[in-house]
């Protein structure tokens, strides 16, 4: 690995190398992957421990799930367009795509909070059964990550607002957020498949 020489090289080579921070962030994402992996394992063990309470089939609605999935998937490509604009150095365009991504992500979090509030109001909160404890822990951990991503998007929009060129440091920040955002979409694939769809079979 070229870590020790990266800083010098990166400046000489014009962005053909990334700072070691991007690799470090990748390693962080892998540890996050382990967190989600263990929460999925917990859910897999407890998915049929209903304690006489509501089952996933009774609780989950496919239309709401489809809308949440669509929002997150579209937000992935809008962030992608933002990265393409960033490579071209078009700051206004980057900010616009980040804002669109933010709104889509906000819509996702809004729908999820609404779903949770509805379930809790119906007496299907995390304290009802082991299945619901596992469900809320797993899905809200993902939702919390998305919310952190939203704060991060706003931070980068604010930082971009005062600049005239995209520095290499900013490019690395955008790349790391890109990894984070796309990683969360991958986690959501597993959530909608194994938590929602598998319960509706």
């Amino acid at each position: 690995m070229a870590h020790d020489t990266t800083t010098a090289d990166a400046h000489a080579d014009h962005g053909h190398h990334e700072l070691p921070t991007v690799f470090g962030f990748w390693v962080y994402l892998m540890t996050d992957c382990i967190i989600f992996g263990s929460l999925f394992a917990v859910f897999a063990v407890l998915h049929n421990q209903f304690d006489g309470g509501p089952t996933g089939k009774e609780l989950f609605e496919i239309s709401g799930l489809a809308l949440e999935t669509a929002l997150l998937l579209i937000s992935s490509i809008t962030y992608g367009f933002g990265m393409i604009a960033a490579h071209k150095g078009e700051i206004k365009s980057v900010m616009m795509w980040l804002a669109v991504t933010f709104l889509l992500g906000l819509g996702f979090v809004f729908l999820e909070v609404k779903e949770f509030a509805h379930m809790i109001a119906e007496g299907a909160g995390p304290d009802r059964s082991a299945f619901l404890s596992a469900f809320f822990t797993l899905v809200s951990t993902h939702g919390l990550h998305v919310s952190c991503g939203l704060i991060w998007i706003v931070t980068l929009i604010v930082q971009l607002a005062g600049t005239t060129a995209i520095s290499e440091r900013m490019m690395n920040k955008l790349t790391m957020l890109s990894l984070f955002w796309h990683f969360l979409d991958i986690v959501w694939i597993c959530v909608f498949t194994y938590v929602y769809l598998a319960s509706m079979i």
């Binding site: 690995m1 990748w26 897999a44 992608g80 990265m83 393409i84 694939i189 909608f192 498949t193 079979i201």
Partner: protein, 110 residues
């Protein structure tokens, strides 16, 4: 550094084209798994198998087209860490299911 991210999206994967292909595949795979479940045409175990396969393919699509994973020498360390994590997660998910199922069988709790 390991992931030649910037140079890659500009040239290798064709930027917007790569994202569009990835997005198209992701949409098709997502709709397919919703259809399989809503259609009720397969048996429950076959449905679970089908959506598992679709999810696995979609994860790979996202990794290649959105996270730009590739097999270049520069990406070696990213891939090594990724494969180690994958192995780790597989061991404890499969291990957890095996042990808990075994425990349940011995305690006759299900």
């Amino acid at each position: 550094m390991s992931t030649d991210h910037s140079a890659h999206s500009e040239s290798g994967h064709g930027g917007a084209g790569a994202y569009a292909i990835g997005f198209g595949l992701a949409v098709v795979l997502t709709i397919a798994s919703f259809m399989v479940v809503m259609g009720h045409s397969l048996s429950p175990s076959a449905t679970l198998m089908a959506i598992s396969v679709l999810a696995a393919i979609q994860v790979v699509v996202h990794l290649i087209f959105f996270l730009h994973m590739n097999t270049t020498a520069e990406a070696k360390w990213n891939n090594n860490v990724f494969l180690f994590t994958l192995m780790f997660v597989a061991i404890f998910i499969v291990g957890t299911l095996f042990i808990m199922d075994n425990t349940a069988a011995h305690m006759m709790s299900r």
